[in-house]
Assembly symmetry: C2
Homo-oligomer: 652 residues x 2
Amino acid sequence: MKHKITFQPYDRSIEVEDGEILIKAALEAGVHINASCGGAGVCGKCRIIIEQGEVEGGLSEMLSNEDVEKGYRLACMSKVKSDLVVRVPVESYVDASVLNLKTSPRHTAEIKPFDFEELKEEGLFIPPVEKKYLELPQPTAQDNIPDLTRLINYLNITHDEHRLLVNLDVIRKLPDMLRKAGFKITVTIVRPVRKDGRSQIVDIEPGDTTDRNYAVAMDIGTTTIYGQAIDLNEGKVISQYGDFNAQISYGEDVISRIAFAEKKGGLEKLHKVVVGTINKILGKIIKQAGIDKNEITTITLAGNSTMTQLLLEINPSHIRLAPYVPASNFYPPFSASEIGIDLAAHTIALIYPGISSYVGGDIVAGIMGSGVYRTDKLTLYMDIGTNAEIVVGNKDWMACTACSAGPAFEGGGITFGMRASKGAIEDFAINPVTYEPMIITKGNVKAKGICGSGLITIVAQLFEAGVIDNRGKFNRDLGTDRIRKKDDIWEYVIVKQELTGIDRDITINEPDIDNLIRAKGAMYSGALTLLEEVGLSIVDVEQVYLAGGFGSYIDLEKAMTIGLLPEMEPDKIVYIGNGSLRGCKMNALTNSFRRQVSSVVKMMTNFELAETSSYMDHYVAALFLPHTELNYFPKLKKRLDALHKRKAVKGR
Amino acid sequence: MKHKITFQPYDRSIEVEDGEILIKAALEAGVHINASCGGAGVCGKCRIIIEQGEVEGGLSEMLSNEDVEKGYRLACMSKVKSDLVVRVPVESYVDASVLNLKTSPRHTAEIKPFDFEELKEEGLFIPPVEKKYLELPQPTAQDNIPDLTRLINYLNITHDEHRLLVNLDVIRKLPDMLRKAGFKITVTIVRPVRKDGRSQIVDIEPGDTTDRNYAVAMDIGTTTIYGQAIDLNEGKVISQYGDFNAQISYGEDVISRIAFAEKKGGLEKLHKVVVGTINKILGKIIKQAGIDKNEITTITLAGNSTMTQLLLEINPSHIRLAPYVPASNFYPPFSASEIGIDLAAHTIALIYPGISSYVGGDIVAGIMGSGVYRTDKLTLYMDIGTNAEIVVGNKDWMACTACSAGPAFEGGGITFGMRASKGAIEDFAINPVTYEPMIITKGNVKAKGICGSGLITIVAQLFEAGVIDNRGKFNRDLGTDRIRKKDDIWEYVIVKQELTGIDRDITINEPDIDNLIRAKGAMYSGALTLLEEVGLSIVDVEQVYLAGGFGSYIDLEKAMTIGLLPEMEPDKIVYIGNGSLRGCKMNALTNSFRRQVSSVVKMMTNFELAETSSYMDHYVAALFLPHTELNYFPKLKKRLDALHKRKAVKGR
């Protein structure tokens, strides 16, 4: 159920779901309410008056009885339960003109769902594994052909199956199983990836088990591994689980993992450890789905080039040494159990091929899972992270590259940076007159730090409010104690110590901002360079696909404001979620994906930014908010122009 | 160097090799000399006089000085060193007409050699594994494609190699080996068995190792396992070794092995034990050949259906239970190490497919190795043994069957039967007047028993001398104490106790002869029935191929005399040796064999004798010496007619 909320004196309305927190609704509506404790209900700053309608909660010892009677509530603790008229007290206004200012509404990317029916309609569903139930004639003295010949002949005649290959294990099981099951068995047939290949009988089971046919998809991330069990008959994910890659104990990023792998026994250790995590996840999703591991016939995995080589126990040294050569961009199918994965010996593992040392199988999986390789539109695919990968192209061609953005997007190198866990500031607005902040934390607890998406929003808001300039330097003359110099470094105090969940003020300083500018600059200039290499420019991009866990939290307009994303209509930016996992799922589900993988890899031209002379120029030009070339960001330019005009008027 | 020996008063000559034992030369020449100790020099019966020329040895304390001066020597101890005239003393003659009698000369089958050059000339040599030495360009910043892509591209361009598959292990080795070897490596490429298949890179080595490319062939016999290492560049066997199949401890024949396999843990045990023997033999042939096990890329094995299933750890129960169904007549290629064979993981094992429970892969290998499937001539292929297999056909069609001959050919069920080892009577002649024997043992030691080929010769000689009739019953009226009744059973004393290597007389009795008649009757009637099933008769057979270790010892004319082999010119009977090993060698050596295996299997129609109503009639008719239908044996008939006429004359 939705409710309409009107904020006064802004006279701005928004519809939200029943139960939404009022302060989030305000942020969504672009209404600034001072708020410093992240929604924990302890700062008492977010006082509002409920003029019409009802909220649940919102009471606090920081409100007097008189206040409560007048309709005062704390916005961060009030849940919307009906249509409302809410008045934001005006005591903090300095200038009525602020009423015309609007915090730009939050826009996160639309999530592109995965649609099995669509896949079927497009003729892309070719089952990679099928089960057939057979009632074979029993042998007699006149008909005593070998058991396997009986099976093959019957499949020939009654199921039009030809040129079948058979596993040795199937032959081992066949004689006794046939007789125990009265010659009524189910065969599991794996279809060839190549059209001219041969189908293979990989398993037999007594009786009719055709309704139990499963696959697994798994994304091997540097930080996190996600697995999904898939019902191949229904085309549905039936269970999923994610866990930290246990390799983290041996290094946070790929470079430190490679360094560990170079130590004696290191490669074996990292291989074992990641297989351990995979098996743990498998155990969870198998149990959750209520299936037997022997019913899983295929598993598809994807990871970046380092994760892939570590999983397959291939020395990754040369990935980090110039000229950065991976072992292979193609890996043959193998028995999952061969590398220690706890699945049946007949379970075939496929691993997505990569492109280069820094554009790995996870990106190819993402390109396939998101459909970039099938779209007409010129698409910019960005996987934002420490190691950022960028792909541009469509169904006719694709180009890719990778850049090292540094760890800022994951909270690294930021004084109060943290991962997007409880207590991280994920949303922020600033009153452009008083410079007081409005913050919301993950889990609505006292703030502990700033996560990547929060950082983007904070910097964008500080910039649009004129608190920092286009080089990320603070305006020293705004007359607020929130901007201060400490230990010779200028900073903005986001949350004062007493309202934090830690023992000191949470701030953002110039070096933090500089790190973010470098990170976004690397990504944006990477995209620009890549486009230029193929004779295009950023304005030719028709849609942007954002991949990776990070993508779902990004406030798109803020990301455009700092120049991380090109400026475009938000609905042209699509969040595809964990693209790698998505690609694995599709691959596990249909042979059309398996058949196309190698041609997709061949379609993708890799560019090494280090070998592209223009990259450094683009990078330097991108070290501004949003960019030296403001014409790429026309809407922002308009807003900034308006702001300057207003300030000029005010300053007169 | 050869010497001419003339035996008097027979006036019969023969050429033999320098150093040949004189008594063997006599037997070869068809000259009877009494000899009871097998050539051990202890009975003193084989006295002869050297009239011209020289022998080495032949002296004995059983000869007086006077004898020696007169030229007497013991034939069994005299080695031929020059042309000789030898007089056989006539004291034992009763009738001068005996001079006209001739012990039929010994004919063993000609051995058909294996000819690699012939294979090449016929266009049948298609290397199954090739090595290529490559000097790859080193990667640079401008050319940093993955290592495997570099390798594949180079093979594409410089060696016209396309659609290559690659093992995961190769990718694992590639990065470090390339750099250590300065990008100069040798790749091992396995060619596809199917023409439309794909070549596969299975190994890489640093530097140029193209001159080291090896395969192994191995025959998995119920009793003995033989292995050969083959140089694939030269097409030559470079080492070989045979040893008892260690499964023997768990049963002598396939039926007892199957019984053991049915016990708890029995199958695993027999599998392990046979792999143990294989590994022992591999160790020997690898060491002997001076090669490294990693240089062996392929191994081909063959065995009967039970041996095959035990090797692959497939329950063989249903082979011995009606309706006698084997698990499969086809087994996929597998990694040798997968079943415990001590070879590299990349070594592909191929195992010959069989036809039925009792016509196994060893016979298919024999058919291919001997070339039956390529000949125009109607060929009868016989593998003589406890489990006898018979194939008839040519390049256009083939039919096969198996019969249980019983163990008589291997010495089983024969009172003094033994394997063809030291002390076994392997040759025998009888004086048709005195009925005194002439025996030669294996190793020229005192006799310990009778081996299969000796048994055939003894029965044939007894029959032709009229000592036994065509039902194998003794003529009770010959007036020699060598024929006697003991414990109600009639027998012939071959060697008297004091001249044996054991503690009693060595004899052959009527039940022994009956067992041999049943064995040869089973084989002959099997061949007859099989021919009849395809609309032919025994006289249509153009050549006979004898396979198995046993075949090389058989005196062909004796085998015809008892009716084991059809009567024909001895030069139409070809000994192909260990046909199974021969087939394995050819398979390991050339892909033309690998490609044809399945069509050969499909060409072969299996007949179950038990399901063929005429078999029992044929069998009963074959329980005579040589057969009820003597017209199948015209030469023997003539000899027997002459004998009867002579006896009739003499009796007058």
